[in-house]
Amino acid sequence: MTETARKRVRSLALAGLILLLSSTLAWAGGDQEKGNGKIVLSTYFQIDPANPQYEGHNEVMKAFAAAHPEIEFKHEYATGESFHQKFQAMAASGRMPDVFTTYVGKRTAYITETGKVLDLRAYLDDAFMKSFNPAAWEAQGSEGEIYTIPPSMAVCHVMYANTKILNELGLSFPKSYKELLSQVDTIKKAGYYPVSLGNKDQWPVNSWLLSALVDRMGGKEWFQKAMVGKASFTDEPFVRSLEIVKEMVDKGVFSPGVNQMSNTEADQEFYQGKSVYLIDAGWRTSAMTTSLPQDFQNAVYMGVFPEIAGAVDHGTSVAVPSEGFGINKELADDPAKLEAALTFLKFYNGPEGAAIRLKYGEIPTCKLDYSQYDLPRLQIAYADFQENTPMGYVIDAKMDGEGMGVLNPSIQAMMFGNMTPKEVAEKYEAWVKENDSNRLGN
């Protein structure tokens, strides 16, 4: 290579380097807040804005933008496991967004239990809090912290009934568990399945049935004791609840293949009039009101599992406040941003946002006068259900997620006859004793 050629190569390399550096600087500069006087909040939401399920959310965001033009968002969305994976990485790297989705239960413990979320108690006045269903303010941290305002309650146990089939068979919604068992033959002889429930994903039997049974047999007080080790999951309330699930399998209460059926398949079985009852979550009414013909909707009754002999509670369901938005604790040092974030949370969850979300099928935790709205019958029924049904605990919202990896497969094994209820209880108790954060106090 001649000296001239070498010089040319050097000049080209230098020019390339300068170009690379300048483009990097340009990218870095592009991330700065816009100098238009607006307060910019970064968000990370467990939401899919393109999904029709979130139409209500999108409408609230539009209304907020119109009401508060001084606040601008830099949104980032993700759903499912990918949301949690990236959120964990954000937390680990210390690059947390300003506002983000948080769960009231253990699902986002990697954020709430590591002191990265602002405790909202100091910023919520009594009048605002009283405008909500009291269940929304259940403590979310060990010291009673409130990290998120739950926009709605996730009711995790409803026993829906197709009253048209019940009338056809001369039956009525069972008052007792014994009566439910006695209906099985009549229902099956008529060519229907008694109860649809899809447990392919392992958690539905736990969340939607076992939790309700445990609440009936032991009540909240027993569960609180079991959580901290003053009672055991091998006690009568838990074992008897498992026995009921097993008995329901053995007596053919569930439609065949309960553990091979997905949620959607079980729902479809009920919607197609193949089964008399559906055990599912309360929020399923939202899908029913949009996808089922009106005459079918009119035939749907929302009840709870019937009375069980020896139970300490009666007529209860189980619920957990649904996921909402939390604020980055670091915003406490930036009054303008903190004020903007609180304004957003109060708008979204308060009367303005709640009224919009109600129109899109959600039953908000913020109390509204439903007579002011033209709501579908099932939505009103769901609102009444929430108001008038005592709610117990959902097991997987109270106990550690890793323990569900022990309990849920064991329930399936028990349903197949490969484990006894007692063995399931012993296996879970052994895990909880050794590992659950409620017992270990961390």
């Binding site: 496991e81 949690h84 994976q85 964990q88 937390a91 680990a92 413990a109 990697y110 239990e113 590591t114 099956k188 060519g191 392919k200 994903d201 392992q202 053919g252 439609s255 065949p256 293949g257 553990n259 091979q260 059926m261 997905s262 398949e265 479809q268 079985e269 997620g401 890793e402 990896g405 497969p409 064991s410 399936q412 094994a413 197949f416 490969n418 961390n442």
Partner: protein, 295 residues
């Protein structure tokens, strides 16, 4: 001397990008995983070094041993099922022992062109309690409660998955073998025919020895693919019901990303790497002996 030095330098310069990429995306993560495998994590925070405790917990966890056994089953079906079947199908097409070879070639190759998730959903739709097979069986048995109960047995739940894996991957091996069979000189086959060799003799005495290299490469694919199999199993059953169809990668995924136990998950990944390297080395040595025998 100077020329040789320049040659070495140019080799190094040309290899450097690939070497850097290899080190950064293969060796570095394996190294970090190995380090992490001796740690305990909670809520995405490192609790501390715990030595080999993770490895002890893994090998004493019946769920992991069950998952490992399922991987071995997948490996066996790959090596003893997909490869021989692939050779047989390729031979049938190569020797034109069936009519409409083009049609069969296309039909056999079809499954591998479909994404594993689609294949899983397809078979799910067939076997689910509301699937076509179940509905058909309910009709012919007049039993409205009929469901495929094979999934409810810890011993047999893997069978449908093994069947789908066999159905799906055999075609890939078939194409590889067919392409290599077509490289065997026709004159050799013709000569054997003239000498009165049967089809089975041609297959076992001429074709298979000529394919030894490809069979070895395929068995490496089969071993590594079996140990890391995830997509189809996860989409088809998620490792359930219970853990009757769980495999090591699902076990790893659950502990790492669902329970956030990065140390434990890393230990599982190290075990998978060691098993892969060990088994591939073993197959290399077996192949080496085979080669010597025929040289």
């Amino acid at each position: 001397m100077i020329e040789s030095k320049d040659k070495k330098l140019s080799f190094f310069i040309l290899l450097l990008p690939a070497l850097l990429i290899y080190l950064s995306i293969i060796i570095f993560p394996i190294g970090v995983s190995t380090l992490l495998s001796f740690t305990k994590w909670k809520n995405f925070a490192l609790v501390g070094f715990i030595g080999v405790k993770n490895y002890i917990s893994i090998f004493t966890d019946p769920e992991f041993l069950q998952a490992l056994w399922h991987n071995i089953q997948i490996m066996l079906i790959s090596i003893l099922g997909q490869i021989p079947l692939g050779i047989l199908l390729a031979y049938l097409l190569y020797r034109k022992l069936v009519r409409a070879t083009r049609f069969f070639e296309m039909m056999i190759f079809l499954p591998i062109t479909i994404s594993a998730v689609v294949v899983a959903l397809l078979w799910n739709r067939i076997f689910s309690p509301v699937g076509i097979f179940t509905i058909f069986m309910r009709m012919i048995t007049d039993n409205p409660d009929y469901v495929v109960t094979i999934f409810e047995s810890p011993q047999w739940a893997m069978i449908p998955i093994l069947f789908v894996l066999l159905w799906m991957h055999t075609s890939l091996y078939m194409v590889m073998f067919l392409a290599n069979m077509q490289r065997i000189p026709q004159s050799v086959i013709e000569a054997a025919k003239i000498d009165g060799a049967s089809e089975s003799a041609i297959l076992t005495r001429i074709v298979i020895p000529a394919l030894a290299n490809v069979i070895f490469t395929s068995s490496i694919f089969a071993i590594s693919g079996s140990l890391k199999s995830f997509d189809l199993v996860y989409a088809m059953t998620g490792g359930g019901p219970v853990n009757y169809t769980s495999v090591m990668s699902i076990y790893l995924y659950k502990h790492t990303f669902t329970y956030n136990n990065y140390g434990y998950g890393s230990a599982v990944s190290v075990i998978i790497v060691i098993l892969s390297v060990g088994l591939i080395t073993l197959s290399r040595s077996l192949y080496g002996r085979y080669q010597k025998k025929y040289e």
